[in-house]
């Protein structure tokens, strides 16, 4: 991963799911940092370009976490959910999610979800040539 790669922070307590998402985001050009959702401390430097929050984790609540993060960080925030409930989408957006990603998702779906969000959120350091082309296509 190049040093200029934008940082994505993933709040997920399952090692498997964190690894799966890390690989997808890495393929989209992000440097990824996985954080424990029950200890929501974000790195100060570099500033995250994207935050992904799993709705349910041990000792954590994705909505609450989103509110805390939304109060401190202006970057796009994606809520990950697997419940299949439409209420998650409504409440997630009200809690501060810029987008909601429903499991199961593929790389294409992550790309489709993340790119418009990033476009809207004016990401810092999102400079991969391939992604620039996709942003403008």
């Amino acid at each position: 991963m190049s040093e200029s790669a934008p940082l994505a922070v993933v709040f997920e307590d399952s090692a498997t799911l964190a690894l799966q998402l890390t690989r997808m985001l890495a393929e989209l050009g992000f440097a990824v940092q996985v954080c424990d959702p029950s200890l929501p401390n974000l790195p100060l430097q570099p500033v995250p370009a994207l935050i992904c929050v799993e709705l349910l984790g041990a000792g954590s609540n994705g909505f609450k976490l989103l509110r805390q993060l939304a109060a401190r960080h202006a970057c796009p925030r994606v809520l990950l959910t697997a419940t299949g409930r439409s209420t998650d989408h409504n409440w997630g957006r009200r809690a501060g999610a810029t987008a909601v990603l429903q499991r199961p998702f593929t790389l294409q779906q992550v790309r489709a979800c993340v790119l418009p969000v990033l476009q809207h959120g004016k990401v810092h350091g999102y400079e991969t040539q391939q992604e620039q082309q996709e942003l403008h296509s």
Binding site: S14, A15, T16, L17, A18, L19, Q20, L55, L56, G57, A58, N61, G62, F63, K64, R67, A82, T83, G84, R85, S86, T87, D88, N90, W91, R94, A95, Q102, R103, P104
Partner: protein, 654 residues
């Protein structure tokens, strides 16, 4: 158990075999007795058939290959589907004859030394039918496949009908699929049976978890079943192995966590007495929420589908606080064993399919009142139209924008700013209290009640006593509770904060009346009444919000009698609220109630109204008469009227 294994342990096998055969024959005779009575219309219940079929399969496994009893059992097994639908007499007689033959057969199984008297005790009832069979021996024998084909089509039609309902019953789906599986065992090849086992999980996803598959995939699943029923070749579902070491290591960490947590839960469940309920705990539910996606990430889709079904089942238990049945706990133990990387090689699609069907059959019965409608006063969408209970979470997620997004610390910075927003804030809180009661979110309901009481005191508190910081803390906490409820987690109120609120309420300074009323004796009288009502409500643990509207020009002469009447009437009202608590709970109404006392001057008299929110049933005539006798004689025109959707009110003039 294989035939070879059966031979290796004859001494242990024999008593079990004798017992099984005896029990089976008793079941068959009972079932066939019913068939004999109404031979052309009768059908055997599916449950009965599955039970008998299973027993027959067990018996076959016990017996050495080629044993004459085993051959006859196989013949009988193939005929069993005939019992599921009305059949011509000939088929039924064939079946009865097969049973009769089996009853005679144990005599020929010399090495097993069966208890002849026990086995032969039953067949007398069959004798007339066997005679009939002997008379019809020329009848063409029917191939089992001829029976199975229309039966599968009929079962599939039933399955489609059940699955098309807005809320398909998992037990019915499970029963129909299990029946299809049982029927297939009669006349299908092992390959066909495996094909069906692979198809079942896909179908369950289409019916039970439609959000996990798109419309096209659902149509494909049904088409695959239809093709299968038509006995066409099926494409097999490939369960690719995972060779990604990093992913497997991550998986192992997740599975270790799963086993550790589940063992804790199962050990706890094992320690409980038979009557104690085994409730799903949040960590276990959370594990099953994650498991399907963890397993799907390593391409174990069959296991993932099984775990997805587990999550749904545990979620129903969690939502309705249902106890997990013993059978389900046993299945959960099986799942824990299977979720071990070393076990996966031995897992067959048939086994996973069987577990899914067992899980469906043990689906908890959630209360049906979930579909009832509940009237929420002040619901903005649809005006007076009651909200379906099932739709309240959706309503919650779309409403209460003010509570979750707009309320800021600035609203509580001082009393003057607070007064600008208080009315709308209170209306929103009252609506939330009702909605929380309707969906049994008792933590939110009780916190709302307390917060409403706090607001009521804060509303009339002096600027220097205004509890702005406490109110802001409470609203932040309420938002946390709502976030927890929205994620379907258990909302737990902050006990420390609750204690602070109660303490503040207990010592909250009484609002000073306006100068025009301060010196009026009516004000002192009302303070005494209010003290009485609040003390009584506290002593009977009835959360109550009491407020007063007082006119300026009340006549003095009836005040003493008015106080006596108010105390008698309010005592009745408060105590009746306590008595009616179970009914209010049943009607999904909030526990807390509110009373508004209005006093107005009517010439030389005082007109009194007590408005009671939440209770809409007026007392019967007898109770009202008794109540009338407890009031001073100067009380006139006591009556009660109901306020549609908003409660009831008592009125009198004194």
């Amino acid at each position: 158990m294989s035939a070879a294994a059966g031979k290796m342990q004859p001494l242990q096998a024999e008593p079990a075999l004798v017992h099984s055969i005896t029990a089976l024959l008793q079941q068959l005779v009972a079932g066939l007795e019913r068939l004999k009575r109404t031979r052309t219309q009768s059908t055997m219940s599916t449950v009965e058939l599955v039970r008998i079929s299973t027993r027959l399969q067990q018996l076959r496994q016990w017996l050495p290959a080629g044993n004459s009893l085993q051959i006859r059992l196989i013949k009988l097994h193939k005929l069993l589907p005939a019992l599921l639908q009305p059949q011509p007499a000939g088929v039924a007689v064939q079946l009865l004859a097969a049973v009769y033959e089996i009853q005679q057969t144990p005599l020929m199984v010399s090495p097993l030394d069966l208890r002849k008297s026990q086995v032969l005790a039953a067949p007398a009832a069959l004798a007339p039918l066997v005679q009939l069979w002997r008379a019809q021996q020329h009848m063409d024998s029917m191939e089992p496949a001829v029976l199975i084909q229309p039966l599968l089509v009929s079962l599939m039609q039933q399955l489609v009908a059940v699955a098309s309902r807005p809320m398909p019953a998992p037990q019915q789906i499970g029963e129909l699929l299990q029946l299809m599986q049982a029927v297939l065992e009669f006349g299908s090849t092992a390959e066909q049976q495996r094909g069906f086992s692979e198809l079942v999980p896909v179908l369950i996803v289409a019916v039970m978890q439609p959000h996990l598959s798109n419309r096209n995939q659902q149509v494909q699943s049904w088409r695959a079943l239809w093709q299968f029923v038509q006995q066409r070749q099926l494409s097999t579902v490939c369960n690719a192995e995972c060779h990604d070491l990093e992913l497997l290591q991550a998986l192992q960490r997740d599975l270790d966590r799963y086993h550790w947590q589940l063992q804790l839960f199962l050990q706890g469940a094992a320690l409980k007495t038979a009557s104690a309920p085994v409730l799903v705990c949040w960590p276990v539910l959370l594990l099953h929420y994650q498991l399907p996606w963890i397993l799907a990430a390593v391409e174990q889709h069959s296991l993932a589908r099984l775990c997805q079904l587990w999550y749904q089942s545990l979620m129903v238990h969690w939502q309705h606080r249902l106890s997990i049945a013993k059978g389900l706990l046993a299945l959960l133990r099986q799942l824990a064993v299977v979720l071990d990387l070393s076990q996966w090689a031995g897992l067959s699609a048939c086994l996973l399919c069987r577990w899914q069907l067992q899980l469906l059959q043990q689906w908890p019965n959630a209360p049906t009142h979930q579909l009832d409608r509940v009237a929420l006063a002040g619901v903005r969408e649809g005006d007076d139209e009651p909200v379906p209970l099932a739709g309240i979470p959706e309503l919650l997620s779309r409403s209460f924008a003010m509570l979750t997004e707009q309320v800021t610390a600035a609203w509580f910075a001082d009393a003057a700013v607070y007064q600008l927003h208080a009315a709308t804030l209170l209306a929103e809180l009252q609506l939330l209290e009702q909605a929380a009661a309707a969906i049994k979110l008792s933590a939110i309901e009780s916190f709302c009640s307390l917060l409403l009481a706090l607001h009521q005191q804060a509303w009339c508190a002096l600027p220097e006593q205004f509890p702005g910081e406490l109110l802001w803390q409470c609203h932040q906490h309420l938002r946390d509770l709502l976030d927890e409820a929205a994620a379907w987690q258990q909302s737990v109120p902050d006990l420390q904060l609750l204690a602070v609120i109660r303490e503040w309420l207990l010592h909250a300074p009484r609002p000073l009346p306006p100068p025009a009323q301060a010196a009026h004796p009516a004000t002192a009288m009302l303070e005494r009444v209010q003290f009485f009502v609040e003390t009584l409500a506290r002593s009977v643990e009835q959360p109550l919000r009491f407020s007063v509207e007082l006119a300026n020009n009340l006549p003095l002469s009836p005040l003493a009698a008015c106080e006596e009447a108010l105390i008698a009437l309010l005592r009745f009202v408060v105590l009746e609220q306590v008595q009616n608590l179970p009914q209010r709970r049943q009607a999904l109404k909030p526990v807390a109630t509110s009373l508004l006392l209005k006093l107005e001057a009517v010439e030389d008299s005082i007109a009194v109204a007590i408005v009671e929110a939440g209770i809409e049933t007026p007392p019967d005539a007898k109770t009202l008469r008794r109540l009338r006798h407890k009031l001073p004689e100067t009380v006139q025109r006591l009556y009660c009227r109901t306020l549609a959707g908003r409660g009831r009110s008592f009125h009198f003039v004194i």
